[in-house]
């Protein structure tokens, strides 16, 4: 089995607070690896260090067989690492189609192309509309992102990540703030992606986690207190005590 992503001894401190505490973790190619943990456990901080937005104080991140610890955000994207944001982070005044088209464009060579109109460029629009269809937004392509519903914006987040044709997706609570219907739809979408892509999934929605994950890591105060199959995690007494509590019994 080959590893898509390997984290070793990662440390990140914010002042006196240790958000990532000597964290080691590996994600196998093709698996859905869920990272769960209470609020403030350091999940978003972890993703930030994987994408390069946050510089770790110590430790290494290896992706696709190379050390990417010091690599700039856009370079990691080029290597096939894509993320979605916990708090929707799209181009609010662009249409859904233009949002995705820009993500497509980022991976079609440099953009020092000054003359041809981008909005009618089939090499951008074609793939953009395919990715919108993948996430179920085909009929919303022309709508300004800020006018989309919350659930639709979450789908757009995912479409933008997919449009970079990544090898690995880092999803930071893709179901955040969604109602049960939208959540179920998102689970279906992710199920279809499973296998083609390696996915690191941060999510509070336990139904979604247990429906999708091959392996789960539990993060508490920046430390991984357990890693294992959904079954193992469900029955781990430490995890139950620290995090899952009562609600896990029937999850």
């Amino acid at each position: 089995m080959s590893e898509a992503l390997t984290i070793e001894g990662l440390v990140k401190q914010f002042g006196g607070l240790t958000a990532t505490d000597h964290l080691s973790l590996s994600v196998t190619k093709g698996e859905v690896h869920a990272v769960i943990g209470p609020n403030g456990a350091g999940k978003t901080t972890l993703i930030g260090q994987l994408t390069g937005e946050i510089t770790p104080d110590a430790g290494t991140v290896r992706f696709a067989g190379r050390d990417v610890t010091g690599l700039a955000v856009h370079r990691r994207s080029m290597l096939g690492l894509a993320r979605s944001f916990q708090i929707t982070n799209v181009l609010a005044d662009f249409t859904a189609r233009a949002n995705v088209a820009l993500a497509v464009q980022a991976h079609q060579g440099h953009s020092f192309r000054f003359w041809r109109k981008a909005a009618t460029d089939q090499r951008l629009i074609g793939p953009a509309e395919e990715h919108l269809a993948t996430v179920g937004l085909a009929d919303r392509a022309g709508v300004t992102a800020s006018s989309l519903s919350h659930g639709e914006q979450r789908q757009l987040e995912l479409a933008m990540a997919l449009a970079t044709r990544p090898a690995m997706l880092l999803l930071d609570e893709p179901m955040a703030g969604m109602g049960p219907e939208d959540s179920a739809r998102m689970v279906e979408i992710l199920k279809r992606l499973k296998g083609d892509l390696t996915i690191l999934l941060v999510e509070h929605d336990m139904d979604a986690v247990f429906a999708l994950a091959d392996r789960i890591t539990v993060l508490v105060y920046g430390r991984a207190i357990a890693t294992g199959s959904p079954e193992q995690i469900r029955n781990d007494p430490d995890v139950r005590a620290a995090y899952l509590g009562e609600e896990s019994a029937d999850a």
Partner: protein, 337 residues
């Protein structure tokens, strides 16, 4: 509303096209120079709009590129007049250098400034332009503080004669159309999408793989180059080159023109420049007139205080019509962007 907007803009552009004809017909050649200034500032404001309106980069130093462009003409003239270097008046060379030098200066200044954000960016662009301002004041040879009066203008041989106000006007008009066309292509190209995207959400753009810095920098360089063209025209229009054009106040004026006309729209800065100069020209007379009507005494003084009305008026327009004049034409009133 779209009809009104397109119609109005077409009307303004058509009216601008016939200014010299009308001015000569009614024997008021003064209008030709007033409107040439409008065209020149429309080009400068359009160049600023590329970075400010489309790119979200609030440059408070665009007067520097205007000044550099005009000094190309001034320095060429100086050497032609004093050292007998006739070739230094070559208009094509002036035009080329007035694109290249301000363009390179903008790349250099942008390379440093664009590493900062927000207020810091504003202050750094301002600081660089003031540096250039004092640099040219120190250049005694080229007039220093007093500037240079140009007895000869840029020489285009038999192609055109810039001493003829109408010909200079149509050169400015042609260049404005060209600049607008280039900007239109630019902002709708792949490059333009990155620059506009970076204004909307730079973090997201980096996350999908764009090295946004270099695109913003090139946009800044292009903006400086276009602004240099305006400087070239300005020198030939005023037949005078001085540091005063580089003063930060003019950078502020350019920002006001862009905001007044409508940021991030193609024709907004043109409307802004025309509106700004119209107000500057006619507000004093208007105020004096109003003063007489309401029966005030010593109304000459009322005309002198026009700036006290001008400033608040601009603020009102900007607050009331967030999209500037162009926004008003689209029916955007109030706080919607």
């Amino acid at each position: 509303m779209q009809m009104i907007r397109v119609g109005f803009i077409a009307l303004v552009m058509l009216a601008l096209a016939v200014v010299p004809v009308v001015a000569n017909a009614i024997d008021e050649p003064f209008y030709v120079s007033l409107f040439t200034r409008m065209l020149v500032l429309a080009i400068a404001a359009s160049s600023l709009n590329l970075v400010l309106g489309y790119g979200g980069m609030v440059s408070f130093g665009h007067a520097a590129y205007l000044g550099l462009g005009s000094y190309v003409v001034g320095i060429g003239f100086y050497h032609a007049a004093n050292d007998g270097m006739d070739w230094a008046l070559n208009g094509w060379m002036h035009l080329a250098l007035a694109i290249i030098i301000p363009g390179l200066a903008a790349l250099l200044i942008g390379a440093i400034s664009l590493r900062t954000r927000g207020v810091y960016f504003i202050m750094i662009t301002l600081a660089f332009s003031q540096m250039l301002y004092y640099f040219f004041i120190g250049l005694e040879r080229y007039g220093g503080d007093d500037g240079l009066s140009l007895w000869y203008l840029s020489d285009f041989g038999s192609v055109m004669d810039l001493n003829d106000d109408s010909q200079l006007y149509y050169l400015a008009y042609g260049l404005l159309l060209l600049v607008l066309f280039i900007l239109y292509r630019l902002v709708n190209s792949r490059f333009g999408m990155v620059v506009r995207g970076a204004k909307s959400n730079e973090r997201r753009l980096m996350a999908v793989g764009f090295p946004t810095y270099r695109y913003r920098l090139v946009a800044f360089g292009i903006s400086g180059a276009i602004c240099g063209v305006a400087g070239f025209l300005m020198a030939n229009q005023s037949e005078f080159v001085s540091t005063s054009e580089m003063h930060w106040v003019h950078s502020g004026d350019l920002i006001v023109m862009v905001v007044l006309g409508g940021m991030g729209t193609l024709f907004g800065p043109v409307l802004g420049a025309v509106g700004f100069l119209m107000l500057e020209q006619y507000l004093p007379e208007l105020m004096e007139g109003v003063c007489h009507i309401i029966g005030g005494s010593s109304c000459g003084i009322a005309g002198e205080y026009w700036k006290m009305v001008f400033g608040p008026l601009l603020i009102l327009i900007v607050l009331f019509a967030r999209g500037g004049i162009d926004g008003l034409l689209q029916g955007k009133v109030g706080r919607n962007v």
